[in-house]
């Protein structure tokens, strides 16, 4: 199976090329077009308990869609629901990644996606939610962002500051703490940043250029009130 990014940028799409018998899983509703050799079906991934846990805790769909090349080789195009870029992560069996709850787009069928808690305070303050997704296994994983996506690579002990709600994915070896943007609360709030995530290496961290919550607040001002 090979993932290829088509038209990288705001309206990026993934082209997955499959040989006969290969399968990938994708976010529910993400398929755009596919070769007739492929079949698409909804799948409760990770068993009913795992799927329920993922759906209830991260707000994602109970189902993934499985796209399988049953009648020969073929390709499928997959795109996220929101405008934004896409990037490919490689899992080698020894590493794993954490994804904020809406980042998963598609992966090799063998990669396991499960909901995990990131702790009460981190969940409350990081902007990434109480529960995130953990990807383990071996193969390719496509993630999507809101806006463009950028990777930073941190050496052991190296730190970086990322505004909350901008984290997309990070290696399992990366840790982060939520802290004030400035030394004082007043300047943290007046700077417009409030809380930020201080990530610690080693490992890669992907962040997105736009904050979905901030975009939602911006667009709400243009929606006329029905009352």
């Amino acid at each position: 199976m090979k993932f290829e990014i088509i038209q990288p940028g705001s309206y990026a799409m993934i082209k997955a090329t499959l040989t006969q018998g290969e399968a990938i899983k994708a976010e529910s509703g993400a398929m755009v077009a596919m070769h007739p050799n492929l079949d698409v079906e909804g799948k409760v991934d990770g068993g009913m308990f795992g799927a329920l846990k993922r759906a209830v805790l991260t707000g994602e769909s109970l189902f993934f869609q499985t796209l399988k090349a049953n009648r020969g080789a073929g390709e499928v195009f997959i795109a996220p629901a929101v405008p934004g870029d896409v990037t490919i992560l490689e899992l080698n069996g020894a590493n794993h990644f954490f994804l904020q709850k809406q980042s998963f787009l598609a992966s090799d069928d063998a990669i396991a996606i499960e909901a995990v808690s990131q702790g009460f305070f981190k969940g409350l303050l990081s902007g990434e939610g109480m529960f995130i997704q953990k990807a383990t296994g071996k193969g390719s994983l496509a993630i999507s962002s809101f806006g463009s996506i950028y990777k930073i690579s941190l050496a052991p002990g190296q730190q970086y500051i990322v505004d909350n709600s901008h984290l997309v994915a990070w290696a399992g070896t990366v840790t982060y703490d939520v802290q004030k943007a400035s030394s004082g609360w007043f300047s943290s709030v007046t700077s417009g940043e409030g809380l930020v995530c201080k990530v610690n290496g080693p490992g890669d961290v992907w962040f997105q250029s736009r904050n979905p919550g901030a975009f939602g607040s911006w667009i709400r001002q243009f929606i006329p009130s029905k009352g």
Partner: protein
């Protein structure tokens, strides 16, 4: 993979942050690191430290310097590595390995515990909300000004009756007004709503209460009751729904938490939208059994005060019950007034507490009225 060899993610070569998968083999006084790309390194155990790390705090981190000078940061997730070290590893690392095993157990226990605590609190909050929702609805209803509630009532009445004929004269109208004028003086003083009844020429067998003191009665119901006292019982029951603001509470309960909280904090805009959109569905609204029991109990008290025989109140429903499920769709009163048998028993118990009395008949020739309604129906 040979025994004593463990997979890991290796940092320290090439770009910072770039890792390479590899295997770490524990030989008595050294670690042999074999990367998947074929490179090999030896790390003397005297130059190695062990710790926990990673996002979940459960990675086993081996940091050390190779004989060839490179510094490595190796992340492993196989707990057997610690087990192996604590039993077969070099003496200087056995204690550290056991400490990390204990630390890992504690981290796992705490993570599971905090998840269960979180889910428990979530369930508790949900249960509390479920228990307290009725209380919140009561408070929110209290926040709606009478003028606004009256306007909501007008919207609901308009939505239900706009395509139907509203009677303002004739035998059906006169009969309802005679009953209404008997009941009104018995309504306790002090309620903020102006009570109003609308008689609608429609085959629907129902009477219903709307917000803001509005009551609607359909001629279809008048054809099915057997006396003015029966209809007086039903109207007294609907009057109690109005006085207890059950219609507004019912709408709010179905509108959901956001509307209730909005109203509670002084913004009835969302409630107005709900009423505008769904006001016409009020004819399908059924109240809770508690609300029905309360309306029955207070209706009997009202009827007694109005000197109208209260024992006729349950007769209409009892008669419908005896017909079983063989009722036409127009009998919506059945679906909107649940729990007849239980309510009947409660009413009988209440009747036994009433002193013996002779009630003044309302004085409507009901058989004549039904004949007039049937005649008008045939003339259409």
């Amino acid at each position: 993979m040979p025994a004593g060899t463990f997979r890991g993610d290796v940092f320290g070569l090439g770009d910072p942050g770039q890792s390479c998968p590899g295997s770490l083999e524990v030989v008595y006084e050294e670690f042999r690191l074999r990367l998947d790309d074929g490179r090999q390194f030896t790390l003397p155990t005297t130059r190695v430290t062990l710790s926990r790390g990673g996002f979940d705090g459960l990675h086993i981190i081996v940091e050390g310097q190779a004989e060839s000078g490179e510094n490595f940061y190796i992340s492993l997730q196989d707990e057997l590595f610690l087990d192996h070290l604590s039993h077969l590893g070099p003496a200087e690392l056995r204690g550290a390995a056991r400490d990390l095993q204990r630390q890992g157990n504690s981290t796992r226990t705490w993570a599971a515990l905090s998840l269960y605590i979180f889910l428990g609190l979530l369930a508790l909050a949900g249960f509390g909300l479920w228990l307290g929702f009725g209380w919140l609805v009561d408070r929110a209803v209290g926040m709606v000004p009478p003028t606004l509630e009256k306007r909501f009532g007008q919207i609901v009445v308009e939505a239900i009756t706009s395509d139907k004929k509203k009677l303002t004269q004739g035998p059906a109208y006169d009969a309802v007004m005679k009953i209404w004028n008997r009941l009104l003086p018995a309504v306790p003083a002090g309620h903020p709503d102006t009570l109003q009844i609308h008689v609608i020429d429609d085959p629907m067998v129902n009477a219903l209460a709307a917000p803001g003191g509005q009551i609607i009665v359909f001629t279809g119901l008048m054809k099915e009751v057997e006396s003015a006292e029966e209809l007086a019982g039903i109207l007294a029951h609907e009057l109690q729904h109005v006085l207890k603001k059950h219609p507004l509470k019912g709408i709010m309960q179905r509108a959901g938490l956001a509307v209730v909280l909005g109203t509670l904090f002084g913004d009835a805009g969302a409630l107005a939208v709900v009423i505008r959109e769904y006001g016409g569905k009020l004819a399908e609204l059924s109240y809770s059994r508690d609300q029905e029991r309360e309306a029955d109990r207070l209706a009997v008290e009202l009827l007694v005060r109005a000197n109208v025989d209260p024992t006729r109140l349950p007769e209409f429903f009892r008669r419908l019950q005896s017909k079983g499920g063989n009722l036409p769709a127009a009998f919506t009163i059945i679906s909107t007034h649940p729990g007849h048998e239980e309510r009947d028993q409660a009413l009988q118990a209440q009747f036994r507490t009433l002193p013996a009395a002779t009630y003044e008949p309302i004085g409507v020739d009901w058989a004549g009225l039904k004949a007039a309604l049937a005649g008008a129906e045939q003339a259409k």
